[in-house]
């Protein structure tokens, strides 16, 4: 089999990995080596599904011996199988990198012999890239559940980012859908990476010569909609991963029905793309907007409203806190106004220090008021003539949301066939 065929098979098998980030690592260029890593990350292309391509995202092999029910590469599926040699991966990475196609490599793999063997081969590929090929660009390495500690430690010294897929939001679902993977096998390396990163970080404060361990941190991915967990459950889990395991990112991947099994959604089910979108919005609220999962959702209504973004839903539930005065509200309060983001809030605070904001300044500040106008006032003056009733406001907010989600919802996608 030639490289082209292998690449087609192994990139196709990697398309379910959601992560694309190449940010967070500030790897300086070294004389004699190829490349560096930009802290902000750089997108190099966008594929036809609208996701950005920044890394050469491939599997080392898709010849899996596991039989996870939801997975396309599971053992009992009949699909084309291929395995790269380390030199092939290195050659592709270097040549794509020189032509500026990619920012680096994202290497994952199916478990082909044993978890130890697979992980060892993947680490070997990275090792060769870093030493034999003097590659100094970004590497994201997937950690195979059940990989031995010393390999994970070695991987952290070579890669910029490591990730262990948590796969499903609860141990029960994992047991049902991926019986050969254990919760423990996933959480142990995750904890090890978190601890090692903070230990090396502490050492680096004492001596700058300490090497960096996994400088772009670790991330994980879970499948949404293959099992029955509520959004509240998922967000609480993500929140604890961020605070307890120091994860940088949790990726949510809408389940795409590739297999049929009695304990899975029907193969004809559309992937829950709107739900995934809402989860990402809620995730952003937790990471950047100082929200707690328990504020976004309660046990009485444990799922996100698909028609409305979670911040607007929160603001409508707490409408008694509004309107906030744009010249008086604190940064934290401004972050909670629907339609204002981090940049807008920062800009409002910065400008206020120099001059009070007037109504005619809003446009110059680049603030988008179509949502925010219901929730803000300027020096005691409301920005809308009359605040609509709760029901009308809800309708208005939902209408504003429609364009953003219309191309994700199944009804619309169906219609496009004709």
């Amino acid at each position: 089999m030639n490289t082209l065929d292998k690449l087609t098979i192994l990139a196709d098998a990697a398309k379910f990995d959601a992560s694309c980030a190449s940010s967070g690592s500030n790897r300086k260029a070294k004389p004699g080596a190829l490349g560096n890593a930009a802290a902000s990350g750089i997108c190099h292309s966008w594929s036809a599904d609208g996701r950005c391509i920044s890394l050469l995202k491939i599997l080392l092999s898709n010849d899996c011996r596991l039989d996870c029910v939801y997975c396309m590469s599971r053992r009992s599926n009949h699909c084309a199988r291929a395995t790269f040699t380390p030199d092939e991966v290195a050659d592709l990475t270097i040549n794509f990198y020189r032509r500026n196609y990619i920012e680096g490599l994202f290497l994952s793999s199916a478990v082909y012999a044993s978890p130890e063997q697979t992980m060892s081969d993947m680490v070997d590929v990275c090792h060769q890239l870093r030493t034999k090929y003097a590659f100094n660009g970004y590497i994201h390495l997937k950690v195979i559940p059940g990989a031995p500690q010393e390999l994970v430690a070695k991987a952290g010294m070579l890669a910029d980012r490591l990730s262990v897929n948590i796969e499903l939001p609860s141990a029960a679902s994992l047991k049902e859908l991926a019986p050969q993977k254990s919760r423990q096998g996933i959480l142990t390396p995750m904890r090890q990476i978190g601890e090692a990163a903070s230990n090396y970080g502490a050492e680096r404060k004492k001596s700058r010569r300490t090497p960096k361990f996994c400088p772009a941190g670790q991330s994980t991915q879970m499948i949404i909609g293959a099992s029955a967990e509520s959004d509240l459950h998922i967000l609480t889990l993500s929140q604890s991963l961020y605070t307890k395991m120091q994860l940088r990112r949790v990726y949510y991947s809408a389940y795409i029905a590739v297999n049929s099994a009695p304990n899975l959604p029907m193969p004809s089910t559309a992937p829950p793309l709107v739900r995934e979108h809402r989860l990402y919005q809620a995730d952003w609220l937790i990471r950047f907007y100082q929200f707690q999962a328990e504020e976004i959702l309660q046990a009485t209504a444990p799922n996100l409203d698909e028609r409305l973004d979670p911040k607007a839903a929160w603001a409508l539930r707490h409408f008694d806190l509004f309107p906030l005065d744009i010249n008086r509200a604190s940064y934290e309060e401004l972050l909670r106004v629907p339609g204002l983001g981090l940049t807008s809030a920062r800009r409002i605070i910065a400008t206020r220090r120099v001059a009070a904001i007037r109504e005619e300044d809003l446009k110059k500040l680049g603030l988008v008021m179509k949502r925010a106008r219901y929730f803000l006032s300027i020096n005691g003056k409301k920005l809308v003539a009359a605040i609509p009733s709760h029901q009308d406001l809800l309708t208005a907010m939902c209408r504003l949301e429609k364009p953003a989600i219309s191309h994700l919802s199944p009804q619309y996608r169906q219609l496009r066939l004709f």
Binding site: T3, L4, L7, T8, I9, A11, D12, A14, K15, F16, A29, P31, G32, A33, L34, G35, N36, A38, S40, I42, C43, H44, S45, W46, S47, A48, D49, G50, R51, I53, S54, L56, K57, I58, L92, N95, F96, R98, R99, N100, Y101, E103, A254, I256, P271, L273, R347, A350, T351, R353, V354, A355, I357, R358, D361, K364, L365, G366, H407, L408
Partner: protein, 256 residues
């Protein structure tokens, strides 16, 4: 005194000098513009300036000391090549003299809003092109990267690649302005590109096949195959693809 029109030579130093001079003169200013863009009218009092690099330097240093961002606003405004930025800079410098460092936070001031907007637009395009430039490896192992940016960002891109691809010889070619920068692994210098070659590239969006290195087309094919395979048909969403990568960038992209 009549409102004055200042004309300068179109260089960055010339622009700074003209602004410094206008501020120093203290009179009413009608316009500051490069000579080649100026259309004479009957009523203008025109002052044509000869660039004084020393004064320009002092203004830049003043802005730099105020805040690195203030100096960057001047640089990026110049790189944007848009008409009227000189007057915005003039009014920004006035504001800086009155308010000091605070001027940078005064985002509801029209000059600050305008200059920061341009700064973001130019740096956004430069950032996009850091990812979207595609190098073709030519027969003599030179990496050739053609692109057509809206703003004059070739120097910003070159600064990125001289770090990243320090050990490779590459040439960035802005076909919009027909300017090119060549990195020979030690130095960066402006070069002229052969006009026939440039015309061919601008027409086809690709380098003549005869000039490519032996396995260049093979890697291009591999990249196209990867680009196709990594897309998930169940999530097909061309609008989102275009949002990330508008069509004006497609011409020199190997994969589109």
């Amino acid at each position: 005194m009549e409102p004055v029109v200042y004309l300068y030579d179109g260089t960055f130093a010339g622009m700074l000098h003209a602004i410094a001079r206008a501020v120093k003169d203290g009179g009413a200013v009608h316009a500051i513009t490069p000579t080649h863009r100026y259309t004479p009218t009957l009523f203008d009092t025109v002052i044509t300036l000869k660039c004084d690099a020393d004064q320009a330097d002092r203004l830049l240093q003043y802005l730099q000391n105020l805040h690195p961002l203030a100096a960057n606003l001047a640089v990026y405004a110049y790189l944007s090549g848009e008409g009227g930025v000189e007057m915005q800079m003039y009014s920004f410098v006035h504001l800086c003299l009155r308010r000091g460092k605070q001027a940078l936070s005064y985002e509801s001031h029209s000059a600050v809003a305008h200059l920061k907007g341009l700064f973001h637009a130019v740096s956004r395009e430069a950032h996009r092109y850091k990812g979207l430039i595609r190098f073709r490896i030519l027969a003599d192992d030179l990496q050739y990267g053609p692109f057509e940016p809206h703003y004059n960002i070739i120097s910003l891109c070159a600064r990125h690649f001289r770090r990243r691809l320090a050990g490779c010889r590459w040439l960035l070619h802005d076909l919009q302005r027909n300017s090119a920068l060549y990195w020979d692994t030690v130095d960066l210098q402006p070069v002229e590109v052969d006009t026939d070659f440039a015309a061919y590239v601008a027409l086809h969006g690709e380098v003549p096949a005869a000039q490519l290195s032996e396995n260049e087309q093979e890697y291009q094919q591999l990249w196209r195959a990867f680009h196709r395979a990594i897309s998930n048909p169940a999530r097909h969403n061309p609008q989102l693809q275009q949002q990330g990568m508008p069509q004006r960038y497609w011409k020199y992209l190997t994969e589109m």
